[in-house]
């Protein structure tokens, strides 16, 4: 179990350590060592291959594969920033469970927001994602300029 994964599974709420509900899937999948291949397209348009462990998040995948993405994952997957913003194609986007309100609230602040945008830290790798492509948006500054 990677440190990053454990630190994001647990959160402190009042006096309890709570297993974050939307990451419970990751716990179930951790025993499997299966990996699939995913692709990131960085801001320069370069397509980068990544070996993704089932049950980890896309943030974990980017880190584990040394994918060179500026400023990615600043808040360490706690839905407190939007730096892990990725764009999917419509087909794949529709296959995912829709974002929660909390994820949508942070997506609202992301640059280059598309209808098929997601936050990488909230996407859990599953077997059917083999070959999926995730695009890092090119825009680095807000339309506000």
């Amino acid at each position: 179990m990677s440190f990053g994964l454990v630190s994001r599974l647990l959160t402190i709420n009042s006096r309890h350590l709570i297993l974050k509900p939307n990451l419970i899937n990751q716990v179930h999948n951790l025993s499997s060592n299966k990996t699939i291949n995913l692709f990131f397209v960085d801001r320069n348009g370069e397509k980068l291959k990544a070996k993704a462990k089932i049950g980890t998040s896309l943030l974990d995948v980017a880190i584990d594969n040394n994918i060179d993405l500026e400023g990615f994952g600043a808040c360490e997957g706690t839905l407190s920033c939007s730096t892990c913003h990725l764009i999917l194609n419509k087909e794949n986007y529709d296959l995912l469970k829709p974002p929660t309100d909390e994820e949508n609230d942070m997506l609202d602040l992301a640059y280059g927001l598309e209808p098929t945008s997601r936050l990488g830290c909230q996407i859990t790798v599953e077997e059917n994602m083999d070959g999926w492509v995730f695009v890092v948006p090119k825009e680095v500054s807000d339309a506000r300029g």
């Binding site: 402190i12 808040c75 360490e76 609202d108």
Partner: protein
């Protein structure tokens, strides 16, 4: 057991992020090759400064780059340490990556050094190949209305934030929370932070890094029951963001209210259809909030009020604030106009707002008045080209216009608004300008060797990385004794003592 768990989580996060930073160093792209060893100076040590440092380290690491980070306080991290609210610890996770950046042997830290007084910009430009201004926004905006400076308990949001975040000397703030009504003028995320801190259950705060002074104040002297957050403009221009608003509506024992009249002039469906997604979601949320009926059980109340401009601050014979007079505003616009376009905040913010002469001037009573109307940029050295009108350093995508070798990033570059994602993108943009210029020069500069000498000559007691580490460890140790992640040192003297005397 509980605190041990918190320490475990913090350690795990630190390990997580140190692995991230170490991996970021080994970029898949070859870094820029220069013919010399660049020496870079960064003024400030908050997110803007340190994200810029991270990009420079990543892309210039093969050139034996040296980055010297200067900070006015003895301690680094800027608003992440002194601005982000104590109950938003997750947002502070970025500190882990900043800590790793400071640990890098190619990075030096010079704390307790005030650029503009201890060192001049011209001296920095002499000693370094590039100087990056990243010192944020130190000034406050003023209402400039009668009574603003006359009565006690009229306080800027910045001062309250500094107080609960333990900024040195902030405990001297003369603030009285014994009355029931607070009014906050301004409706951005800082206003929401202050409102939330004023009515949050105190036991929640006790396990954060809130300052001891503020915790005691909130525990024993806070009688505030009703907070009004008052915006000059209307619901379509709400400056706060949905995450913060949502959090406010979920607060235990607090009711959030919004008068439905704020939506009476709109056909909601037509309006929502024209809005860009972020604005659409928050507007719909506000509409639903306005439709909720008041709860009958006694709770603390936060009320959002729109379209009001403060005219005058009132007080009693003891010179304490007692209330604010507001004029009412209205949108001067036909929202039934089907051709109107609202797909950006720029367009919404250009809808004219005028005084609503059909409504009387309103008096809001309060025992505490908070001004949360934004920060202001300040020029720290006359040699820095500063645009007074725009309130930023004159620059082209981060390259300062009219001063070779000078750059800027963060709020001092684009104005005092924005969150972490804006800052990372901004730092990326400024770094590109540095690369472009460094590729065209070949000049060894003295850097820290020269600057340290000057500081010693001037008897400036600067805090280096080890000194900061001593302060950091002391704060964590003190916090551990009382179940907090840290107890911040409360004065500059105390910080210097811990940092320098060992």
């Amino acid at each position: 057991m509980m605190f041990h768990s918190i320490k475990c989580i913090q350690k795990l996060r630190l390990n997580y992020n140190s692995s991230l930073i170490n991996k970021l160093k080994y970029s898949s792209k070859p870094s820029l090759q220069l013919g010399f060893n660049p020496k870079i100076c960064i003024v400030g040590s908050g997110p803007a400064a340190l994200y810029t440092a991270q990009y420079l380290l990543k892309n210039l690491n093969s050139n034996n780059i040296r980055i010297d980070v200067f900070e006015k306080l003895p301690v680094p991290f800027g608003l992440v340490r002194y601005g982000v609210a104590p109950d938003h610890q997750d947002v502070k996770n970025v500190i882990n990556s900043f800590t790793e950046t400071l640990k890098n042997k190619q990075v030096n830290f010079f704390g307790n050094v005030s650029i503009g007084t201890d060192l001049k910009i011209s001296e920095l430009l002499d000693a370094y190949n590039s100087v990056v201004l990243a010192y944020g926004s130190m000034g406050d905006n003023y209402l400039n209305i009668p009574g603003e400076k006359e009565f006690s308990n009229v306080i800027s949001a910045r001062d309250i934030v500094s107080m609960y975040n333990g900024l040195p000397n902030s405990e001297k703030l003369n603030i009285d929370l014994s009355g029931q009504q607070a009014v906050i003028i301004g409706a951005g995320n800082v206003a929401i932070d202050v409102a939330r801190m004023l009515v949050s259950p105190v036991d929640k705060l006790a396990q954060t890094d809130i300052s001891e002074f503020a915790l005691d104040l909130f525990k024993t002297k806070n009688k505030i029951e009703h907070v009004s957050i008052v915006a000059r403009r209307g619901v379509l221009n709400a400056a706060f963001t949905l995450k913060e608003l949502r959090e406010l509506t979920k607060l235990e024992a607090v009711e959030c209210r919004l008068n439905a009249e704020n939506f009476s002039e709109f056909n909601l469906d037509n309006l929502l259809a024209k809005l860009a997604r972020p604005r659409k979601r928050i507007t719909e949320f506000l509409y639903n909030l306005s439709k909720q009926s008041k709860s009958s059980s006694p709770k603390k109340v936060i009320e959002l009020k729109f379209l009001k401009t403060p005219l005058e601050i009132l007080g009693n014979d003891s010179k304490q604030v007692t209330g604010v007079k507001f004029k009412n505003n209205k949108y001067n616009f036909d929202f039934n106009n089907l051709n109107a376009n609202f797909d950006s905040d720029e367009k919404l913010n250009s809808i004219p707002i005028v005084e609503d002469k059909g409504k009387n001037v309103e008096l809001m009573s309060c025992s505490l008045l908070v001004k949360s109307i934004g920060y202001k940029n300040v020029n720290i050295d006359s040699e820095i080209p500063f645009d007074k009108k725009l309130g930023v350093v004159l620059n082209d995508k981060g390259k300062v216009i009219g001063k070779e070798g000078l750059y800027c990033t963060g709020w001092i570059k684009r104005g005092p608004r924005g969150v972490i994602v804006d800052t990372t993108s901004d730092a990326y943009e400024t770094a590109q300008k540095l690369y472009a210029d460094l590729a065209n020069i070949n000049l060894e500069k003295p850097g820290a060797a020269k600057i340290s000498e000057i500081l010693r000559e001037r008897n400036v007691r600067f805090v280096d990385k080890n000194g900061w580490d001593r302060i950091d460890q002391a704060e964590i140790k003190r916090g551990k004794e009382i179940g907090k992640p840290r107890e911040k040192l409360a004065s500059i003297d105390e910080m210097l003592k811990v940092a320098l005397e060992h």
